[in-house]
Structure formats: C-alpha cells, structure tokens
Symmetry: C2
Subunit: 250 residues, 2 copies
Amino acid sequence: MSGWLVIAGLGPGSETLVTPEVTAALAEATDVVGYIPYVARVAPREGLTLHASDNRVELDRARHALQMAAAGRRVVVVSSGDPGVFAMAAAVFEAVESGPADWRELDIRVLPGITAMLAAAARAGAPLGHDFCAINLSDNLKPWALIEKRLRLAAEADFAMAFYNPRSKARPEGFARALGMLRDVCGDDRPVIFARAVSTPEQAIRVVPLTEATPDMADMRTVVLVGSSLTRIIARNGVPIVYTPRSAPE
Amino acid sequence: MSGWLVIAGLGPGSETLVTPEVTAALAEATDVVGYIPYVARVAPREGLTLHASDNRVELDRARHALQMAAAGRRVVVVSSGDPGVFAMAAAVFEAVESGPADWRELDIRVLPGITAMLAAAARAGAPLGHDFCAINLSDNLKPWALIEKRLRLAAEADFAMAFYNPRSKARPEGFARALGMLRDVCGDDRPVIFARAVSTPEQAIRVVPLTEATPDMADMRTVVLVGSSLTRIIARNGVPIVYTPRSAPE
C-alpha cells in the first residue's frame, strides 16, 4: 500500500473554480483533512473519511495527515483558495521538517487553487494588473510592528496590495491602524476594494476611496485590495471597473 | 443578439489546471482572441473563430475583441496564467477607458486562472507561504529605476518575491542587475527557484542559493521565486522542499 499526501486548493467558493486536478485528487482520496467549512465542501462517498477540525490547529491537522499518509492512506488536506497563500501548505512543511525523517520521503504534492485576491481582483476589474504584494494582516504569528513596516514599505514602493485576514473579533484595532497608516503614507484617495465571500451566493463587492474605508467594511471572509497611485476607476452603470494600467510613467 | 467579452485565464499550461468556468466560457464563445501560443491551446470547432496575434499588440487585440463583443459576438480573450496578473485584463480595461462610451456598458467578465507564481510555488513547496510580492521585471512599460526601487524596498520589507518576465533577448542585462542588487541588499544566501514551463512536458524546476543564481537560468518561460530571510529548505532525495514558515519572530 503506497500512501500519498496532497495539499489542495479548493478556490474561493464556487465549484466552477475548482481545478480538474483537485477534483481528480479528491476522487482518489481515502481521507480528507481540513478546517470544518472547507471539508464541508467535499461530497461524502463510500470509502472516503472526512476529518474536519477547528481553526488554529493547523500543525496538529498537518501531523495527523502526514501520519495517515505514512500509514499508506491517500490523504487530501484541503484549503480554501490556494494552499500556498496563507493556508495549509506551509503548516504541512513545518510539520515535515520537525517530524520523523521518513516523512521527508513521502509522496507530497501541492495542487494550486484560485486564491482569494485573484478571484476578487477579477470581479472588480484588474486592480492587481501591475506590481503588487500580498500581506496577511493577522498578528497571530508575527509581530504587529512587522506588519506596519511592510505596509509602509509597500506603500513607498507603490505596490497595489492585497490584505488577507484583515479583521477579527480578537483584534479589531489592527485593521483600523493599517488603514490610518495607509492614508498617511499614500496621501491620495486611491480605491479600496472590499470583496467578501467571492464566488459564493453571499458575494459582496464594495469599492470606496481610501479616505472613506472603515474597518467595519471587512470581516474574516473579506479580502481587501488597495490600489497603487496609478489605479483607475471606470465609472459605468452599476459597479465601477477598477484597474491598474500596465504602464508606469518615467 | 447580445454579445459579451470574457477575459479568461488558461493557467500555466496543463489542461488539468483550467477551471470549469473557463472551459464553459470557451464552449459558448463565437470568437477567441489572444497571443498565438495561448490561442493554440483552444480546440477548434465549428462556429468558433480563432484570432491569433503576435506579442506586443495587446491594445490592438483588446480593441478588436471589444468591437466584436459590441457587434454581438461572444468573445473570449485568452491569457496564460491569470488574466489579471501581468496579462490581458489591464490591457482590455485601458482600451475600454479610452474607447467609445458604449464599450463601458458591455457585459465584460474576468475569469481568474492559476497564475505562474502560484503554480511554481506549489511545485517547489510553499515558498510564498508568508507575505510576498509580484514584480514584472520587464521594462517595456515602466522605467528600470522603478523596478530597482521596488526590489530594494521589497527586500527591506523581507517579502518573498515572484518575478515575471525575468529575461528577454532584447534586455539581457536587467535581470543580472536585479540579482546583483538582491545579493547586496539581502546579504544572505536565501533560496532562489527558477521554474520553467510549469505543468507542461517541458517543466524544469531548479533551486539554487542566491549567490549562485545567474541570469542564464531564466528565459521568458521562467518565473523566478526568491525566498524571504526566513525561507527554509528541507533536504530529501531528489528536489528539496522550499517553504516559508507562517510565523515571523518578534
């Protein structure tokens, strides 16, 4: 019996954004491991065991998946979006590095998915159409001072930006500080896009100028995109188009 | 007759990475527009006209697609990867903004795809598992000084980095300068991943320390990923695993 471990991205929500590669891996799996709402997206079937666990137990979940693969099971760890972007892939490799030597020789594959910022950007136009950065605003695993430093340098570099995990009940003040700092450093009224639950029935996209962006416009299902100094808005009936041109002037 | 325009991402190469949403749009299209090698990935069929054009005519291509959609055709503009990342979506919106007013009211949708950096990251492990940035190293449409400034600030922010269009015959010296600057600013031997033609039969992944990275390791089919100061390598038989942990220390 030859086990394997796949770390798969389910995309932002819609089944029409799940790659055929991920669908095929799920069809071959004996075990699916992940955070409760992501495992809930996998259809139960005979021969498949679903292991749903709570949030913030990523390392335990990763070790459990590795143990099962080492025992010969065909295991898929599911993430929403892309598993390599603020999701389960790094957690699995942390567990591999600190685990028994034979885990290194397992058949481990990462299958990419549509990450939230790119699904959100597509719905809004092309706000990430020029150089950009992605920052996890959660300070669970890094100091807030590092987040502030990155925000300041990213604004100075004139990147468009995508923020994951902008706001939680546990730390409501962080995102307000981030918005305040951006207003100070950017000094203009570039567009901010709040994209919630993209590609699901609850999808909501809101575009506001930076000076009007407030923390309550985001929750943990929201990805926030901030334009660069060159980002433009095309007004039209309904939601405007937000895009960043390919060119930057001399 | 009601036309529409879809700007679709075909992913990095493999058909197993094309989303069902994109496959469905192609099945409904009357016209497919794009750069020759991307249009070649669409199967011909009765009722579908393929419009393949050369590189560097993005705005002409975008206007042609918009004209056809305005005339009632169902048009798909194809990009490799994700259309919103250094690809056709921004070009189409530039054409919309400078074009006739009725183009703004067209049914235009962007369908995301698996972008090269995330496909490459998945093959290598999880090098973009913490905050990161994406920079187009081509200076066709922006001054080289801006690229250098962004590289310096991105290194100072300790982002992992993804470089698109690292090298062309027309400007072979740019990438060498970028690597030299990173060696100076980073001052360590973090891993660099050269990922060529990911997910195609020509796929080649190479991991080298920054001090050993040379420009000839990349061509225009290569995406280059550079770790942050925290990026780690897990040695094993065959290609090592490269990943950036989720945590950053105080």
